[in-house]
């Protein structure tokens, strides 16, 4: 059951990621990226990270990607122009990439074989309470620093994007 769920959502993630890179119109890339983030959220759920999965949907898929879509709509970004590609790249690119990835996975499987089997519900330490405890005791300084970072980002975005009247 875990294997089937992982395979379904991994295949969706990879297909959507390929779509992000391959599609010419930015809106199609953006919608595919939302698909990637959704399937990654399900994979986080399988790995026991329920708070992070919901945070992924709320923050990434629900806010950051909306921002992307707004900008694409405001700038009226159209399809990219085609450009010439060399024959070598077209013929050899994809097979070489797959061969490289296969070699990398084989060698990593062989030399670091200690991976645990991922079973849904085996890791119960990803609840909001655990994350809250760690965030407010051990990682308090990075937490406060990121709040300053977000403030800087807000001010920067407002200053950069305003109309010069």
């Amino acid at each position: 059951m875990d294997v089937i769920l992982f395979l379904i959502f991994a295949i969706i993630a990879v297909v959507c990621a390929v779509n992000v890179v391959v599609q010419t119109h930015p809106i199609s890339s953006a919608i595919s990226l939302i698909g990637v983030m959704g399937s990654l959220a399900v994979l986080y759920l399988l790995l026991g990270a329920e708070f992070l999965a919901m945070a992924q949907i709320i923050v990434y898929a629900g806010a950051v990607m909306v921002l992307f879509i707004f900008v694409i709509m405001l700038l009226n970004a159209g399809t990219e122009a085609k450009r010439g590609r060399s024959l070598t790249a077209q013929l050899l690119g994809l097979p070489l990439l797959i061969a490289f990835l296969a070699l990398a996975s084989y060698f990593s499987q062989r030399f670091y074989p200690g991976g645990a089997a991922v079973h849904f519900g085996a890791f119960k330490g990803g609840t909001a309470q655990n994350i809250g405890m760690a965030l407010f005791t051990q990682y308090l300084l990075p937490f406060e620093v990121t709040s300053a970072l977000i403030l800087i980002a807000i001010v920067g975005a407002v200053v950069l994007a305003r109309k010069e009247l």
Binding site: F51, A55, I58, G62, A63, I69, F70, M73, T127
Partner: protein, 391 residues
């Protein structure tokens, strides 16, 4: 297998009830707004217009399904699908009542109790923005684009006060699971989150309600889809079933926000006062009174048709009141009654406000979100946190 079958059964029942509720919510809205405006509302199709939703569904299904030229077909067809899916999914974590036992299996009246259930509802409502933004963009129509952008900007702006207003009662109940939030409010009305000492959540109740109105694009925040402003905004170019999908999504979002208000602030399926003081007889009392009023009006009715319909309504109410007295179903029906009463009261508030208030202009709307509602919600969260920490 038992668990699987039970879940499928529960899902089927909840889906059926939800879809019927959505259809009849539209009937209730039209009737209530009509009576606020001193007219009758739907009256002809079936007794008192009760078959009007059926007529509307038949009309929408059989209408010509038109795709305008020069639209981005994939996104045009994806948008209503996203809107309605996200709107309907959020019903799956709402607790309707306590534990019941059907045919020997005990189960809760809730499809699933995620331990991050509240975040799930927030996540799904953030995804609902896409249906509107993509619908506005893909229609190849400047009014749709403006309506879509304005509506999505409004929805994401009001998500902030909404989330912060949700965080305040969470400080009191210490859990994200919706079932446990309701269970933490046992007792009487004094234990509901809205009136709970040490920190009564009245301000966050109002902030949540206002932000909920804006999230669902309802009056007074419905400028992006108003007919006389933007030619119906983002759903201008949609006809028949796709328009029905947006319509259903809006009502489903209304139902979700009402249920969330009932759960977070009004005690979910908990009764108004404890059963030791007789709260088990309140549903029966209400239905019996309603039935007697209906029958007494039926004896000298204002219209000829009411000589038949009003007494029938009265008898139906009396029968329902009697059902609430049967001890076999009492433990299941009474929490359900309280939950439905609270969610129904908030839905009535929605419809009442639609019939009463004018709409905000767009800059007033955004001003209100960022300069008034967000600081108020934040201040309320800080004060609540301070009070909880000091006690």
């Amino acid at each position: 297998m038992n668990f699987f079958l039970l879940s499928v059964l529960k899902a089927a029942v909840v889906a059926f009830v939800l879809l019927t509720t959505l259809a009849y919510l539209q009937w209730v809205e039209r009737k209530v707004i009509a009576h606020i405006q001193v007219r009758m509302g739907p009256y002809r199709v079936g007794p008192h217009g009760l078959l009007q939703p059926l007529a509307d569904v038949i009309k929408l299904i059989t209408k010509e399904d038109l795709i305008p030229p020069h639209v981005n077909k994939f996104v045009y067809l994806l948008a209503p699908f996203l809107a309605v899916t996200m709107a309907l999914i959020s019903i799956s974590v709402i607790p309707f009542g306590t534990e019941i036992s059907i045919f020997g299996n005990t189960t809760w009246m809730q499809l699933t109790d995620l331990n991050v259930g509240l975040l799930f509802i927030l996540a799904v409502s953030s995804m609902g923005v896409y249906g509107i933004a993509l619908a506005g963009w893909s229609s190849n129509n400047k009014y749709s684009l403006l309506g879509g952008l304005r509506s999505s900007a409004q929805m994401i702006s009001y998500e902030l006060p909404l989330s912060i207003a949700i965080a305040s009662p969470l400080l009191l109940v210490n859990t994200l699971s919706l079932r446990e939030i309701v269970q933490a409010q046992t007792g009487s009305i004094l234990h509901w989150n809205i009136l709970r000492l040490p920190a009564p959540q009245i301000i966050s109740f109002f902030v949540f309600l206002i932000a909920g109105f804006a999230e669902t694009n309802r009056v007074p925040f419905d400028l992006p889809e108003a007919e006389n402003e933007l030619v119906a905004g983002f759903h201008t170019e949609y006809s028949s079933m796709k328009f029905a999908a947006f319509f259903m999504a809006e009502y489903a979002n209304m139902v979700t926000v009402s249920c969330m208000t009932a759960i977070l602030f009004l005690g979910g399926w908990q009764p108004l006062f404890s059963p030791a003081w007789g709260s088990n007889y309140v549903p029966t009392a209400i239905f019996v009174i309603a039935g007697l009023i209906a029958i007494s009006h039926g004896l000298n009715p204002a219209r000829r048709l009411d000589r038949i319909t009003l007494p029938i309504t009265g008898v139906v109410f009396l029968l329902v009141g009697a059902v609430f007295l049967m001890p076999a179903v009492q433990s299941a029906l009474i929490p359900l009654f309280w939950f439905a009463a609270k969610a129904g009261a908030i839905l009535f508030l929605y419809i009442w406000i639609r019939g009463t208030l004018p709409r905000f202009r767009y800059d007033q709307l955004m001003n209100f979100a960022w300069k008034v509602l967000f600081p108020v919600a934040l201040a309320n969260l800080l004060v609540t946190g301070l009070i909880v920490a000091l006690t």
